[in-house]
Symmetry: C2
């Protein structure tokens, strides 16, 4: 059987390496691809996707995986077989023609979305979204699901978590957030943020950002930091993890906080288990767990007073005069303003998840056939009014603001909120496990936190499910309470409520 | 048959796209890959090479190609089939095991070469070079050859040209160059070049270099200019052509001349025929023809007085004070100094090809079994003395200076000299075809030359062989005379000989 397992490893190495090439093509597309190169790039990506699908579902490989599955190999070997079997079963259920149709529809839908957003006219995107949902429903029935049809995709992201389990958690969150935001708004506190509008030289920001990444434990010999319009993290292997951030039109210290966010993703990738390189157990657990790492560093660390006790004096060395009159209190307030607003990606920690909940509800109701795509702008605006008290004046700043649906990403939005909830629950546990964590952070010791995350989360790879992980690390299932408590503890003093 | 040709196109598109991914992996490796990412990168490259080899030589595809070959399709279709048949036949003759052994040996030989050069000790590299030559000989007997065994590789580069044909051309060149260089040396003219040692800000150089590229007709929306230790050009498709140059330790205007060199390669790639994208006829003709384009722009244009009549005043706008006391005469002399030296890549236009001839002779004699690898340092130094009148004091500055042999590149060196010869022969023809070409260049009109190159060379793709091309464009076969005449016309006045 070991010989067969070796053969299995060889095949998944090939699939992994094609995936690696795809990741590089994607990274390059977002960073350095010249404009006229996009068309051929799309074709090459398509070719590699096709080859991966072929490799994964070749009858010979399927037979091998089944044989290994029956042999019930122990430990990591068994886990690797189980994961590949899962991907294989899913891939085999979707006929090649449907994959191609979905991929073609998505690339046309994306173009339609770009135009629709530009013209702020949902009707241009509506037929494409309908088509995507229709194809997605076909996929759902092919791959199968229990409970809501939404689970066909939701479970693909968060593994063992169902939408039925997550709804009460989100509902709990909503019930706490809505009145809390009302209180903040009616506090009428206006915070000064004039100072942050000044320009900070990009070259100095870059040096400063790299310094903080290094302090976090991010290894720049096994990764990079570049510039991209939409910041992201791409991990080709744990030894080549690429972060991006943006400086244009961004007010300092937002590029740093964005770097901390991507750095959180990056530490996760660099911390994956050595022995799992190129195999499923060497991968990250889920988008939700991944997002917990980025949000933890961006918000729980980067937007804390403790972080700035250490880094504001250092920032003053870099930016001198511009920060002369700034103290930690002032900076802390400036980067922690809460204001119900229209755009998700510009929203603060408190209102952010209500943006997600609206998307979560609407895409679920669309999938379940409870609402019509045509009614989406109206429903969007109604829920914005209900949850956030603001109403977009146009489709562009409303229902058309996010790219996700045009890419066929259904059930991805909730992983952002799940990530936020995880982040607070993990951090709460870290504070229990690491004596004086906050005071250590205020002395610039970020490595103590990194070490904890590495041991408890990163180095586990995909050996656990997200559900198993949160239980193991915190002794409890996922709940909204820690996140809500974190927000209350943080923002009540800021707003004097 | 058209249906079969469509099937053929689909398969070569797949092979092309894997090659595209390989090119990107290579480009990234030379520009942005973090140090710790190299190991996995090598594996991914290996996987893609294996997949390409498998795709190309799959029995089904071989049968298809044979069928199409017999059908004798007309025009481009027939040419595409012919080219793929050629690669396929060659690939099939080399067993997979030998490919792997060669690739493993090369990567170990490369490491040995790095160490040997560092320690300036040929004996550390000697056993690896022997092994490489032995494997290469096995490949040669498998793929077959006529005349010298060297043709097994030489013909793979220059297509229809044999080493027996090129020897008299090179001999002619040598007989002209050696006495000419002696004359230059004994002229004892010492040229002032102090000014070029000043530092020129890299950011300004970059802007200036991009401006010149644009003037040449290089489309920066379909390409890039980055920094790399060893400058190169990578063309993924004609719409994504990436140049690199280097600034560190380089004296201005060397980075510009290096940019012109890579820009020459780049224009060739961008000028390949639209209708041939992703197929053999859409590729460049040979390394020699490619090098002719880079050397033409670097030397015949970039090191000419005419070029600087236009660009020195512009350079003064960029670099101001530093160029205050420089006129075209002075700059022209500074960038056209001839001095027999030890290092090929630092050598001037006149001595450069003697460096190549030494490598050409030695690698041919090694392949033909006429000399022993152990004797290489001694033979190297003897020929340096004989051709250039200088002798390296160490292996590092002698026989170990080039990476090529450690990569298993045999018969690649002569393509550099062939490129130089082509460049002068093409330029001579361009001057006949374009009235007042030099005066147009002195007015900054580079596009007139680009247009000529595009029409005569670039847009032909691989529809001709190099031999057919030079005959068609210049009405004559390749000869050394034009290059020798160009050197004499240029350097006799400079050295007053």
């Amino acid at each position: 059987m070991q010989e067969k397992y070796e053969k299995f490893l060889k095949k998944i190495a090939e699939i992994n390496d094609l995936g690696y090439a795809q990741e590089l093509l994607m990274w390059d597309q977002e960073t350095y691809l010249p404009p006229k190169g996009t068309q051929m790039r799309a074709r090459v990506q398509g070719t590699l996707s096709g080859l991966i699908h072929e490799d994964l579902t070749s009858p010979e490989f399927v037979a091998l995986v089944q044989e290994l599955k029956e042999a019930q190999l122990p430990g990591d070997q068994g886990l690797n077989v189980k994961e590949i079997d899962k991907s294989q079963q899913r891939a085999m259920k979707i006929p090649r023609d449907l994959v191609v149709e979905l991929s073609d529809t998505q690339s046309q839908a994306y173009k339609a979305w770009v135009e629709a957003r530009q013209k702020s006219d949902f009707s241009l995107f509506c037929p494409w979204l309908k088509k995507i949902l229709e194809l997605k429903k076909r996929v759902a029935y092919l791959v199968g699901f229990e409970g809501s049809i939404y689970n066909a995709f939701f479970k693909a992201y968060e593994e063992d978590t169902t939408v039925e389990e997550i709804i009460p958690v989100f509902e709990n969150l909503r019930q706490s957030l809505v009145p809390f935001i009302e209180k903040i708004v009616s506090s009428n506190k206006v915070m000064t943020n004039g100072f942050v509008k000044e320009e900070y030289p990009v070259d100095k920001q870059e040096i400063f950002n790299r310094r903080v990444l290094k302090d976090m434990g991010f290894d720049l010999d096994a990764g990079r930091l570049d510039i991209a319009v939409h910041p992201f993290c791409a991990g080709f292997t744990k030894y080549d993890v690429r972060l991006t951030t943006r400086y244009e039109n961004e007010v300092w210290p937002e590029p740093l906080l964005s770097t901390l966010h991507e750095g959180g993703h990056g530490l996760y990738e660099q911390g994956l288990p050595e022995e799992g390189i190129g195999t499923p157990i060497g991968q990250s657990m889920s988008p939700g767990v991944h997002e917990s790492q980025s949000r933890l560093w961006e918000n729980l660390v980067g937007r804390s007073k403790e972080f700035w006790y250490h880094y504001l004096p250092i920032a003053k060395e870099y930016f001198g005069d511009k920060l002369k009159n700034i103290d930690v209190e002032k900076l802390y307030e400036a980067i922690n303003q809460v204001r119900p607003s229209l755009i998700r990606v510009e929203s603060d920690e408190v209102t952010y998840n209500l943006h997600i909940l609206i998307r979560f509800e609407l895409e679920r109701e669309m999938m379940e056939g409870k609402i019509q795509v045509e009614d989406l702008p109206k429903l969007w605006n109604e829920r914005m009014k209900k949850y956030l008290g603001v109403v977009p004046s146009s489709d562009a700043t409303g229902v058309l603001q996010d790219v996700h649906w045009s890419f066929g990403l259904i059930a991805y939005f909730p992983t952002y909120t799940i990530g936020n909830l995880y982040s607070a629950q993990f951090f709460h546990q870290a504070e229990k496990d690491i004596p004086d964590l906050k005071s250590k952070i205020s002395q610039g010791d970020l490595l103590v936190l990194r070490k904890w995350l590495l041991e408890k989360i990163h180095s586990r790879g995909k050996r656990l499910t997200p559900k198993g992980l949160i239980q193991e690390v915190t002794g409890e299932p996922l709940k909204a309470d820690y996140f809500v408590q974190y927000l209350k503890d943080k923002f009540s003093p800021i707003y004097g409520i």
